[in-house]
Symmetry: C2
Subunit: 321 residues, 2 copies
Amino acid sequence: MADLPKSIQINEEGPREGFQFEKGPIATARKIELVDALSRTGLKQIQVCSFVPPKNVPGMADADEVVKGFTPAPGVCYTALWLNEKGLQRALAASRLEVRGSIALTASETFLKRNQNRTLRGNIDAQRRIIEMYKQNNVPVERGSVMAAFGCNFEGDIPVSRVLDLAQNVMDLAAEYGLQIKVFSLADTMAWATPGAVKRLVGAMRDRFPVLRLALHLHDTRGMGIANAYAGLEMGVDIFDSSVAGLGGCPFAAHKSAAGNVCSEDLVFMCEEMGIDTGVDLDRLIDAARLAEDIVGHPLPGSVMRGGSLRALRGHIRAAA
Amino acid sequence: MADLPKSIQINEEGPREGFQFEKGPIATARKIELVDALSRTGLKQIQVCSFVPPKNVPGMADADEVVKGFTPAPGVCYTALWLNEKGLQRALAASRLEVRGSIALTASETFLKRNQNRTLRGNIDAQRRIIEMYKQNNVPVERGSVMAAFGCNFEGDIPVSRVLDLAQNVMDLAAEYGLQIKVFSLADTMAWATPGAVKRLVGAMRDRFPVLRLALHLHDTRGMGIANAYAGLEMGVDIFDSSVAGLGGCPFAAHKSAAGNVCSEDLVFMCEEMGIDTGVDLDRLIDAARLAEDIVGHPLPGSVMRGGSLRALRGHIRAAA
């Protein structure tokens, strides 16, 4: 276990993942309530919403109101997602958000067409347009990513070599514009990864791009989320996207049922119990997870919010002794 | 990943874990239906029921009928659980079951008192009585185990040294009666384990008892089940208890909500995707998981039965190409 990081950074994506996926409608005030609850947990980065066309994702129609409504906590970075120039302009107009660019390619053309109506080549051109807009708006770009990096429900397994090639494309695009990528995210968008695949791909990325800090975005649709995160930790990965209570899922991934991101409080539980610092107060995060469940009005997949934290239990045991 | 086993043995415990835990009543015919469905999956060992007092576990009152009713499949070993002499006699009377003894100690005295109304010392004496009965009935005893090996909801963390001492007690008891323990099971009865703890305890057991083949019994109450199984695989563990659809939970473990064993089809999915043979047809096991959900009448925690197997998906993708 020599490679386990001492601490990790968690990008909380519950509000964005969840409210784009839930059938809703969910009142704007309740979305704000969840963001405010998450702000009190010690999380350092919270993705608040996505700026996407309301006709595609009705649950994000009130994104601007959510951003205006929450109470920013000191030291917390609030982010949003966008997929095109229009979305970026909305994010830039919202002064409370930290707007950081990324160069994002996708390993499956079929998924890309469904998700963003682009070909692989068209997506590279689209990234050029977005990078130009980042430059015009002085938006820093230090992050690259490959979506569907482990497999695709429409195309099947994704070879490691294809992900490496796409990562090289990202690095080349960055170089073309004088940008330096520091963090690279591998997204298991459709939950094809197993711990073995995580180790293989992370290892190959490390070999090819030793200067990059790697991040994982892991969906839990097939129950592998926490195991995949553990495999990432063992490879020294120290940035994870996750979703409070396991909120969310991708509306374009052809899954019939909930397919949320790896659950934040389960991830925090595993890390803290293994001595890996997350900066998060697990019991407060569990409270936020229960709030999320109350807001969506149905059970969410998180486990620790039901099983309880061991820190709390140890406290009860000590008090009873 | 050099230590991953080439194949694993799965002890399916869903019928026993589930039907002892569900509020019920569940019709005997439906319990039999699940056992028969599991018999068609390729699973080699299925724990059908437990022979425990009906006043303690009403869901097992029809254990004898279940054993009489199912259709044994060739090559499948059907087992049962018992905790005392009376239970063993019922198992011996049921000729369809393979009756194999084990020496089982528990790392938490508080839990032991609640679960079996015994002290640690009293439990060693009880094991002597059970071993004597095994010998009288020519029941082979090749298995040892420690329950609550990672932590206890009443006592807190369990030190590795205590588990090693208890394992030594088991080995001493075996030696006292001229028995040879071959398999040793570490049970995370109350879901305190993390992958790091699994590696630590399995490593310590291997160092101390290098001849033993180790098994893991992992509860998923805090969402760590599959990650813990992966950690076990990395340490070369090749026997796992698991529960179809994640059925079950221990009625004495002080959890308010479902606390099932690690989910069989999620475990099979992970193993098969990583090239570890389980002998199980995943799609048939998924069918059995859906049947289990139908039988209990509420959602069960398994993921792959919702997310779907990748083998099936790869077939659809190939067919569409």
